[in-house]
Symmetry: C2
């Protein structure tokens, strides 16, 4: 197995020399694309889409047909693991995810086990194989998982939350129970990502969407420690190729040095952190991924190009930068602005003054 | 006019010696108190409550009757300024604020002017006078305003927003228009706070609730610069007493050094920033206010006391710390835990090992 024809994304993550700044977008296969909405309609609902390897493959490839993106990312949901644990995931119309059986009582938590990814999550592995075949080694495929803490938020709250009252009350009152959930989640995430690597993903990313809702002390104890457990258990190479790992705590800019120290190859940053300052803070310890404000894609094409150039200039010369948004692309984004963004990143980084 | 009998809050803000750590809570007069809900019901709606000096005085004093708080804060809303500008503020039942006439077109923005606080906002000044009389110089009264950028968010969006799409599109496409709004807002906020000082508030606080939604570059240009304009225009003393000014950008922990440099006496911090690290970063330039996770108040009384002690220990010895939550108190907070919090802060800080 050799590297893909366009391996710029992998090279940047490993801080090897690159000819231009590679770019992909979080949630690049998503509702801003009319073709995605059509496939989703055909699937009946979002969960069917995730669970059908051929439909997941179809939507994974859609943004690559439109834009010169430098990586594909597996189409899936971060909640596949708790679903496989038996918590009963559903997506109500127009609303977010909901679990039928959230974790509240001590015995439910004691009974929790990490699901075998080759059994209950087989459909994800099948999707990975199918996407790899379809990509035909053109660009790398990224696998991913939610972080142990982010999964725990949904598992305990039973749904999204604006204040995380239930899971935080557990954190302050019964830290032992939350640690038990996080131990299981860390094991589950590690096994899940290793199965994705075994199935063919060429890089992995851990999304810590909600770690930024914690206090500094609680972040270290309940999120960062488990992000480290995950990366320490990952199979970091396959067929002689290094599998780079990226970690992204939204709202984690303040903790950058600490996040950069736990063993991932790259750290994702949201748009609130200046890339130039961030690069000084991490030195050559890790690559950085990010970090344009996703809402800037609502501006005129000229303004989109200007913002993209500012992000590239902020990082500066040399390798180690993967261009991305600072958060998932907004569902109302005009698709034509994404083309402007991708082309600007390539052209400007290739021909910098 | 002399300092209040309990002037610990003012002393801590000015980094004068204190016997204990003073404490007040953002939104301390609010829906978690049954007596507040009764007064609000009596007022008919939230806006009537803000606009009646005697009812505003009544609810301002309610938390002080229950808890040994070291400051009172004027009961009002951050949107009184845009309301006085004629944008037509209303609060729909169970929902947030809404403006009938949000600022969208260029001519509306060109026509915008800062309201005379002694005219359209007279009811706020009357409330300040009435509260001062009722407090009888027991504890200091804090006046406040929303920040120029936070006001602009509501004025342009017309309501709260999860992504600030409208105001950010203006920011990226027509920065000149947003700057025009922010210029007017900065003038309006300055005049409004000066009128509050003239009416008797003994400290002022500027709430930059939404500055943290901006990119690093945009924060400096569209929020921080106008926070500085405001503080530079404030009357910082009254009757020979210094009027301390506090600034709070929620989510602004990364920018702490810059916020501490623009001229406020104190910087508020949300719970994501460690106070010990923050204190090292600002040295003795400013006092710090904060920063317990408001959701920790849902835990057991023992856990509440433990968290409070951790915040006090994180700041360490010496003056310059005003204890607060890292955000407004949640409406579902058990009121008895607030008593535990306030008493713990006083006892623990007075008798530290």
């Amino acid at each position: 197995m050799s590297r893909p024809k366009n391996d710029t994304f992998l090279r940047a993550l490993l801080r090897e020399p690159v000819d231009f700044t590679p770019v992909w977008l979080m949630r690049q296969a998503g509702r801003y694309l009319p073709e995605y909405c059509e496939t989703r309609k055909r699937a009946g609902n979002f969960l069917n889409l995730c669970k059908s390897p051929s439909l997941a493959c179809e939507v994974t490839l859609q943004p690559l047909a439109r834009y010169k993106l430098d990586a594909a990312i597996l189409f899936s949901d971060i909640l596949t693991i708790p679903d496989a644990m038996g918590l009963g995931l559903s997506f109500e119309n127009g609303e977010g995810p909901r679990f039928e059986r959230p974790l509240r009582s001590e015995w439910e938590i004691r009974d929790l086990t990490a699901p075998d990814p080759w059994d209950h999550l087989r459909y994800v592995m099948d999707a990975v194989s199918e996407i790899r075949r379809a990509l035909d080694n053109s660009v790398p495929l990224i696998g991913f998982s939610g972080s142990p803490f982010t999964l725990a938020c949904y598992m305990v709250e039973g749904a999204g939350s604006s204040d995380f009252r239930t899971v935080k009350t557990m954190l302050y009152d019964r830290p032992d129970l939350l640690h038990r959930i996080l131990e299981i989640n860390a094991r589950a995430v590690t096994q899940y990502l290793n199965a994705q690597i075994e199935s063919g993903v060429q890089a992995v990313m851990v999304f810590d969407t909600w770690g930024g809702a914690l206090s500094d002390r609680a972040y270290r104890e309940f999120s960062l420690a488990y992000l480290q457990q995950v990366v320490e258990g990952l199979h970091r190479s396959k067929d002689g190729e290094r599998i780079p790992a990226i970690v992204f705590t939204k709202g984690g800019g303040q903790w950058l040095e600490d996040i950069a120290a736990i063993g991932y190859d790259a750290v994702g940053l949201d748009w609130t952190t200046d890339l130039s300052a961030a690069r000084k803070r991490v030195g050559d310890k890790v690559a950085l991924q990010g970090n344009m404000d996703p809402i800037s894609l609502f501006a005129s094409p000229e303004a989109v190009a200007t913002e993209a150039r500012k992000v590239i200039d902020a990082y500066g010369r040399g390798t180690g930068h993967v261009f991305n948004l600072g958060h998932g692309i907004n569902q109302f984004t005009p698709p034509e602005n994404v083309a402007v963004l991708v082309d600007t990143v390539h052209e400007y980084s290739r021909n910098r003054p």
